[in-house]
């Protein structure tokens, strides 16, 4: 079982190399990448089941024992994220192949996408902070290329901001690593967890805030999110979907992992996290309401919903962490589906600006259905998948008497409904105000090419499945949260 651990990184990397070699044959490239991601998905599911049954799976790469070598660890949280990540990557890849446009035919698209997949996989399985830095860089460098792949003017403008801000975050990460190493003499997370207890509480809280800032930039927390709604909408449609669904969540994963594992409970900046979570929810959703472009509304929505996940961390109980993990799982699926539908709206209507779209409920009823289900799920309308994690978060908040954050989260949910209904009314119900800017595609009965509709429908299906199987899934998240609250199993699995 432990031999499988490096495969979610190794398989996409080999596929990336093969895609470069077979650059002239698009069909071969596409077959290789679909096969690679399907294999990764299967392996991730096996790893998740293994980690759930046997406890954290550990592999010391190269035979170097921890804390000297690089430990690869899959516990329940990593397993959940890994599985969802590879399913999303696979769905978006199929969608990208189905969409027409110059970008998907670009000779580096497949190989860069595979490197992105490897980076995302690596971020979830590494057990030491420096390798986490390398994994982040792998993922981010691939994302820089994917964001600017057309070389269009607005892509270069937004890409510049994105690259510069990510580089500053990476530099901050290096600074944090340098200080952590100077203070403790290790970068292995399990080892850090043991040694941080000996540090003065003030120093440990400083590290908590520093790491929160580093990963907060990547996750898009208030006040560090300004690059996100600017950069995401200019990328090619499917690329935005994978960025929206996964990249910010890798940041959230890193925040949850470092705050629960490394920072001792007494020095955890919990109040700060709660305040930041509340402000992220409100500011993000107010930003969404002010916009008039489908992709920009959805991008601001991501910011707002990152707040919900971080709220679960800020409450820091088993129930709230379980809710946060389930929320993250639901959000990855629903958000990716929404962005893919956003791409379909653009495909059918020829524009992503609400004022140029209209009446799509009649012209493209399938797209309308594919939009409405994840949109309502995102707002937390029962019985869809957003309802259960939100209910669990609010219950956890009430039981810990944190009423302020609960009220803020309810208001943010209501405003989410408003912002998404704005898209619904603007694009699907009301007639178009302005003439379309681009060329609307002729649509058949499905409302788009089958290869674009099928993965979107599959994701909507998964979103519904999360709602149906919410009981067992919540139990799994609960077990994952228990592992986070009491990291002894993780530490002893790594250090032996």
């Amino acid at each position: 079982m432990t031999q499988l651990i490096p495969l979610p990184v190794v398989i996409p990397l080999i596929a990336a190399a093969l895609c470069v070699v077979t650059g002239r044959w698009l069909v071969v490239q596409r077959t290789i990448s679909i096969l690679a991601l399907s294999a990764t998905t299967v392996i991730s599911i096996v790893l998740l089941i293994g980690a759930d049954r046997e406890g954290p799976l550990v592999m010391q790469s190269g035979g170097w024992e921890a804390p000297l070598g690089i430990s690869l660890v899959v516990d329940r949280l990593s397993g959940i994220m890994l599985t969802l990540g590879s399913v999303m990557l696979l769905a978006v890849l199929i969608y990208a192949i189905g969409q027409d446009g110059a970008e998907r035919n670009h000779v580096v698209f497949q190989s860069t996408y595979m490197i992105l997949a490897a980076g995302v996989g690596a971020s979830f399985i590494v057990g030491d902070l420096f390798t986490l830095f390398v994994a982040f860089e792998m993922m981010l460098t691939a994302s820089y290329v994917l964001l600017t792949i057309g070389g269009r003017r607005e892509q270069i403008r937004a890409g510049m901001t994105y690259v510069v801000i990510s580089l500053i975050a990476s530099t901050l990460f290096v600074v944090a690593l340098g200080l952590l190493y100077a203070a403790t003499g290790t970068v292995n997370m399990a080892d850090l967890s043991r040694k941080m207890v000996d540090l003065p509480p003030g120093v440990a809280s400083m590290f908590g805030v520093l790491l929160l800032a580093v990963f907060g930039i990547k996750a898009g927390l208030f006040p560090l999110f300004s690059w996100l709604p600017d950069a995401y909408p200019v990328a090619p449609g499917p690329v935005t979907a994978v960025f929206a669904g996964l990249l910010t969540k890798v940041g959230v994963y890193a925040i949850i992992r470092t705050q629960t594992l490394i920072i001792p409970p007494a020095s955890r900046p919990q109040t700060l996290i709660l305040v930041v979570a509340g402000l992220t929810m409100i500011v993000g959703i107010l930003g969404a309401i002010a916009q008039d472009d489908v992709k920009r509304i959805l991008s601001f929505n991501i910011v707002s919903h990152i707040g919900f996940m971080v709220m679960g961390l800020g409450l820091f109980s088993e129930a709230s962490l379980a809710a946060a993990i389930l929320y993250t799982a639901h959000h990855i699926v629903a958000k990716t589906a929404l962005f893919l539908t956003g791409g379909l709206i653009e495909h059918v209507g020829g524009s992503s600006r609400l004022s140029s779209l209209g009446n799509m409920v009649r012209t493209a009823p399938v797209v309308a259905a594919l939009f409405l289900i994840p949109a309502l799920a995102l707002c937390g309308v029962p019985p869809l998948s957003g309802f259960i994690p939100k209910l669990a978060l609010i219950q956890a908040g009430f039981s810990q008497r944190e009423y302020a954050i609960v009220i803020v989260s309810l208001v943010a949910s209501l405003l989410t409904l408003y912002s998404l209904m704005k898209i619904w009314v603007g694009a699907f119900w009301s007639p178009a105000v302005d003439p379309p800017q681009g060329i609307p595609h002729r649509v058949g009965r499905l409302g788009g090419p089958p290869l674009m509709i099928a993965p979107t429908a599959a994701l909507v299906g998964i979103s519904i499945a999360i709602a149906i199987a919410a009981g067992p899934l919540y139990d799994l998240c609960r077990r994952a949260a228990a592992q986070l609250i009491d990291p002894m199993a993780y530490i002893s699995a790594v250090l032996g």
Binding site: T141, T148, I156, V163, L167
Partner: protein
Amino acid sequence: MSILLAVTAAGLAAVGTYLILQRKLSRIIIGLGLLSHAGNVLLLSGGRPGIEPLIGLADDREMSDPLPQALALTAIVITFGVTAFLLAMAFRSWQLTHDDEVENDATDVLVAAGVIKSKDVLDEQLAEVEIEQEEAALEAVHGEVDE
């Protein structure tokens, strides 16, 4: 940590931060380089100082700590790659606009100025800004052809 290294890191970080806050792309890129140097110096100073860490050269306790050096090397290589990418993007930006300045986002400018009262106004303004940008881009392209 030696005071010299600390002062160097602080100085590099200060100059780097100042340069990043400029509007010219070339300055931002140089600023990022300096800032990442500051990070690397800090990383290096986290380890124990001493002579070269080669087995057999000296006693273990006299050797410097090799791990931060290895980490700094990795960080330098990554920054090098990303800086090269940034330079390529800056060149592309110069090709498109014939200017070294970071552009504003058209929608952002209008939202910030508080011009958006209704959707129609936004669309008109946005169209104007877009036309201006396209004209500038066209000029840039023609300029290139003329040269």
